[in-house]
Amino acid sequence: MPADRHVIYLPSIAGDPGSSPALAVLEAQGWTIVRPQLPGFDGESGFDCPNDYLGWLTALWDAVDATGTGPCPVIGPSVGGMLAADLAALRPEMVTKLAVLAPFGIFDPAHPGLDPYSVPTANRLEPLFENGVPEPFTGRFADKGEVEAPVARYLSDIAAASLLWPIGDRGLADRLHRIRCPRLVLWGAQDQINPVGTAGRWGDHTRIENAGHLLEWDQPDAVAAELSNFLAPA
């Protein structure tokens, strides 16, 4: 598959319910969004957690390779940002540009934020957004019916939680120096669960005002503009 107009997109803490308005802008510009099928994020039955982070990275490598895409740019929000950064650090030949949005992977005790998993299950999506929970998230799994929808919702949280438990730090600070491709770091100024105070640990970054953790949904225009500029050929 030719990779020149393809971009790999990895899921966030809330999975991937479909293209955000920000990604839709990129698609309108001719980018094809490629979504590696990481295990567990889809809420389907039968998911077994990898035992450790190496197991997760192996699953990521396999999922990326299965797309047949790359080398190409990679976008990762939230937990997907952590995985994208490790892809760039450990398989640098695969990543031409790295865009991360409020990535986990480095925990700063000075900015612990809200533990997303100490929020009651029914309310867990709310702190991820500054401007209300978008419909693609609230309506996700609705087609599964009253009985199966809560099961699927629970299952879909397991993958991200296992990657982030207990504090979302997988030693990435010790690997950041290996990322040699161009890097864009965006952060919601009102991120409750991964506060913008952590952003400095990632080097240069851009604050997006009036945006929470999943900033591409809170401020799609601003995020799309940043991504478009970054992805545009030099």
């Binding site: 450790d52 998993y117 629970y154």
Partner: protein
């Protein structure tokens, strides 16, 4: 039937407005509420009560493990069990911790259980709970997505450490050891009885049925909702092709005995209300870490009346005293009333090990001892003969 005396060792002086001013008795409990002098005094009192329970003719003495918790002051039940082992001589010492997935390597649990078995001269029951979400995932940071796999592996390691006479290498997904060769070894051979405390998880029924461990149902919501859990366990036992020996199971029940039903109603109201309103006041955000429950258990829980009871308790500010009695959370009355109800419970649930909570909430020492004494003298003798046609294969060899 075996009658056991279970101590949670609660903090007895949570303030009356605890529920209004604090969100949880577990995980993020305010340390300013804790007075070390009260804890130190409570430890002495509670240990004395456990020793007194042996004198009152109880068959076993139970302790368990909780972390960052205001109703259970035993992060390490092993410390308490070592004292009990030394101060008693006949009763089984039933340790319904350790949450084996929390310890690295779990070999340490194998060693400490061996020590306790020796200290008690072969009276140990070793309990292996998964541990609650609050204890494991939140207070100890254990990854809920891998907790159960780690738990199963830890049990495998401990069982082999107890029973393999040779030094061996253990190559697990979570623990690897080139040399496993514990010294000392348990007194009981091939190993101390293993009980698995559980709250209704399908996986716990499975492991008990498969490996012939005792399923010890620890719900605070009484026998009526507990029946659902016990029925699930017995179905699993049957499907596994095992016999229906009631000693495969244990059940926990709050109990208050007095000379008359009316007096019991008056005496046990306050400690029960303390327990359900304050000790059991936990934040719903600490209940469901993703991955803690398997898919099968999630489905079962969604339909579970145990969970419904727990969530209702949280949402409504705790049940009223009359509701606690009506729903069977607490069994109270004269000795005859209590004996009759407990016999009904044991038969209905088909359990051979009845774990009684005779001190709960802020019950003072005098009432706890009176409760224990009355139970021992007037309730216990009428229950001991139950299940006499079955043999208890899960009882420590040197406990009476």
């Amino acid at each position: 039937m075996k009658l056991l005396w279970f101590h949670l060792m609660p903090y007895p002086e949570l303030p009356a407005d605890f529920r209004e001013k604090h969100r949880s008795v577990w995980v993020d409990l305010d340390s300013n509420l804790l007075d070390p002098d009260i804890v130190a005094q409570s430890y002495d009192t509670y240990l004395d009560q456990l020793v007194f329970a042996e004198e009152a003719d109880f068959d076993g003495l139970c302790v368990n493990e909780h972390h960052s918790n205001g109703y259970g002051l035993m992060p390490s039940p092993n410390l308490m069990a070592s004292i009990i082992a030394n101060r008693t001589s006949r009763a089984a010492v039933v340790v319904l911790g350790n949450s084996v997935a929390l310890y690295n390597p779990p070999t340490r649990v194998a060693e400490e259980m061996a020590m306790l078995d020796l200290l008690s001269k072969g009276r140990l029951v070793s309990g292996f709970p998964v541990g609650t979400p609050m204890d494991t995932a939140y207070a100890y940071g254990a990854n809920p997505g891998t907790l159960r796999a780690k738990y199963r592996e830890a049990i495998d390691l401990i069982m082999e450490a107890w029973t393999n006479p040779e030094p061996f290498a253990f190559n697990g997904q979570f623990t690897q050891q080139r040399w496993v060769n514990i010294w000392p070894r348990p007194m009981q051979q091939p190993h101390p009885p293993v009980w698995i405390p559980g709250g209704g998880s399908v996986e716990t029924w499975d492991i008990c049925a498969e490996r012939d461990f005792v399923y010890a149902a620890l719900s605070y919501y009484g026998h009526l909702v507990g029946k659902e859990s016990m029925d699930g366990f017995w179905r699993t036992v049957e499907e596994a092709g095992k016999d229906d020996n009631p000693y495969r199971a244990g059940f926990l029940q709050f109990v208050g005995v007095a000379d008359t039903d009316a007096e019991a109603y008056r005496l046990y109201k306050e400690p029960a209300e303390y327990f359900f309103a304050r000790s059991l006041h936990f934040y719903p955000g600490f209940v469901d870490p993703p991955g803690y429950s398997t898919e099968a258990s999630v489905r079962a829980k969604l339909a579970s009346s145990v969970r419904a009871a727990a969530m209702t308790t949280q949402a409504t500010g705790g049940p009223s005293w009359d509701e606690m009695l009506e729903r069977g959370y607490v069994i109270i009355g004269s000795p005859d009333t209590v004996r009759e109800k407990l016999e009904h419970i044991a038969k209905t649930l088909h359990v051979g090990h009845l774990m009684t909570l005779l001190q709960f909430g802020n019950m003072d020492d005098e009432l706890a001892r009176r409760n224990t004494e009355l139970f021992g003298q007037k309730v216990l003798p009428g229950l001991k003969g139950l299940w006499s046609d079955y043999e208890d294969h899960w009882w420590p060899s040197n406990a009476r």
